[in-house]
């Protein structure tokens, strides 16, 4: 089985979000970038398939050279090869088009992406990629088993979960649950050394026109100070009379 894991290069979850250039650009100053957490669960599941069922695992990112340390980390975790599509991502559609080109060229059976990246939260790339490639798609996937060409997936729905049966080629939008948090891997020294010599291919992008464009960013308005109360009756009064939520 040939697996492609899509890796987004995103600000660490503890990052403070700021903007520059008259609020038109994300301010990367002092920000540490990591593998998108939803993708990390997918990468770990891909490693499970590699070790238990036999699979080759490639990772891909659409981004500039600054994303290579993130791809190297994925290689250190155990991926066999990495691909970087040399394009600064603009919108979800143009990223999906780049990934579709990689998938059609590489002939992957299974593509694992995160259900969304934690920066733009678009949640569209995996589904668009599946549609562009004519592959089956399961979103918010919390369990995945592969038996030959058949796949059984469980996805989270509002208020429960749903078991689905489908076949390869398959794209999933994965999240926590694909593996447990405690199963996530930290690269060890051997993995880091091996990653240095693993192939990292740089591909030039195919033609793709962005359909959406961010014109301006804005931060939420500052909040007023908390009203502290001493007793629960005062809280109920405030929630009823002032906030009018009960």
């Amino acid at each position: 089985m040939k697996i492609l894991v899509c890796i987004s290069h995103v600000p660490d979850t503890t990052s403070r979000i700021n903007f520059t250039d008259a609020d038109t650009q994300f301010d990367t100053n002092g920000v540490q970038f990591v593998i998108n957490p939803n993708d990390e669960f997918g990468l770990t599941r891909a490693m499970w398939f590699k070790e238990k069922q036999g699979a080759s695992v490639h990772v891909v990112n659409v981004g500039g050279a600054e994303t290579e340390p993130t791809l190297r980390k994925a290689l250190a975790i155990g991926a066999d090869e990495a691909i970087r599509v040399n394009m600064n991502p603009t919108d979800g559609f143009s990223v999906a088009k780049q990934l579709a080109a990689v998938v059609s060229e590489g002939g992957y059976d299974l593509v694992i992406a995160g259900r969304e990246s934690i920066d733009y939260n678009g949640g569209m790339v995996a589904g668009m990629l599946a549609k562009l490639c004519g592959a089956n798609f399961v979103n918010t996937c919390i369990s995945l088993e592969i038996d030959g060409q058949n796949a059984t997936a469980i996805r989270e729905i509002d208020g429960g979960k749903e078991t689905l049966s489908t076949s390869l080629p398959l794209v999933i939008g994965g999240q926590k649950g694909l593996v447990e948090e405690s199963d996530l891997r930290i690269p060890n020294m051997r993995g880091i050394m091996q990653a240095r010599s693993k192939p990292l291919h740089v591909k030039e992008p195919v033609e793709a026109t962005a359909e959406t464009q961010v014109k301006q960013f804005e931060k939420p308005a500052p909040k007023g100070a908390v009203k502290l109360v001493d007793d629960v009756q005062s809280l109920i009064d405030l929630l009823h009379n002032e906030a009018k939520v009960i």
Binding site: T13, T14, I17, F19, P37, N38, G92, F93, I118, D119, Y120, N121, G122, G123, M124, A126, M128, K131, F137, V138, T140, T152, R155, E156, I157, D158, G159, G160, K161, E162, T163, L164, S165, S167, K176, A210, E211, T212, Q213, V214, K215, Q216, F217, E218, K219, P220, K223, V226, K227, L228, V229, D230, V232, Q233, I236, L239, H240, A243, V245, I246
Partner: protein
Amino acid sequence: MSVLVYTESEQGKFKKAALEAVSYAKGIADMMGSQVTALSINGGDASDLGTYGASKLLQVEDGSLDKFQADTYASVIAQAAKAEGADVVVITSTANSKFLAPALAIELKAGYIPNAVALPQSAAPFQVKSSVFTNKAFALSEISTPVKLVGLSKNAYGLHEAATTCNPESFSPELAGSSVEVVSVDKSTDKVTIADAEVVVSGGRGLKGPENWGLIEDLAETLGAATACSKPVSDMGWRPHSEHVGQTGKPVASTLYIAVGISGAIQHLAGINSSKVKVVINNDPEAPFFKAADYGIVGDAFEVVPALTEKLKEFKAQNA
């Protein structure tokens, strides 16, 4: 020319999120001098949609669509959008809508903005504000394609009555079978879900163990609320990760969010930024959550929460 809105329903009743989406679609239609056509799939009563401004309802009734299938539903919505010549298609941000949205966008060759939080700033060019960085910021984005697809965040726009006569019409799309088959659905129907809840009561490590979750559940039951938890609680297995609220868990956009024994890590706060009123109960006055809260009580959860539950029961009885 019209605005098409896909209205999700459950057991023959439109979801509140769907009615909110109709209100939002009516707001866009008014900006464009256009009208709202709603699409329902095995849905409910057309008059529910007329209340919020839909003047036409395309009703799809087909037993093969009883179970949600993203690719088939996307195809049905795309066919309706094409039949109506819709310039704008509005959907919600439920798990199912987010599942079908990418396929729908490709079928319609439509630029897609998810997590919209307000009416478009302008109709031409079409610019919409949406939540990004897990509610830590907003982006004003422009869609450049002829057809626009917008996903509305829950509780971002609210319900706005705009009484209209809604004329139902039967709509019969071509249905292709799905290659993703639903084997089983496991849904807790007796509990309010985080996705639908107006009120969420959430617990953290301050509860000290899963055996104390009765405190949270009693308060939630009194308020008709959903229960939720912080990441450490989910990681330790005290609660299922479907209840984990935060940057790598679920976002919450409730009217009232009550956090008990949660210190307020930046990742958790990102997940609840869209909630309107936040209440924090914590025995540590320095807990960062107090800076993000509207109301707070510094005190022991094991004393404050049962007292709050009892007083709320009295309040409910008096205001029933």
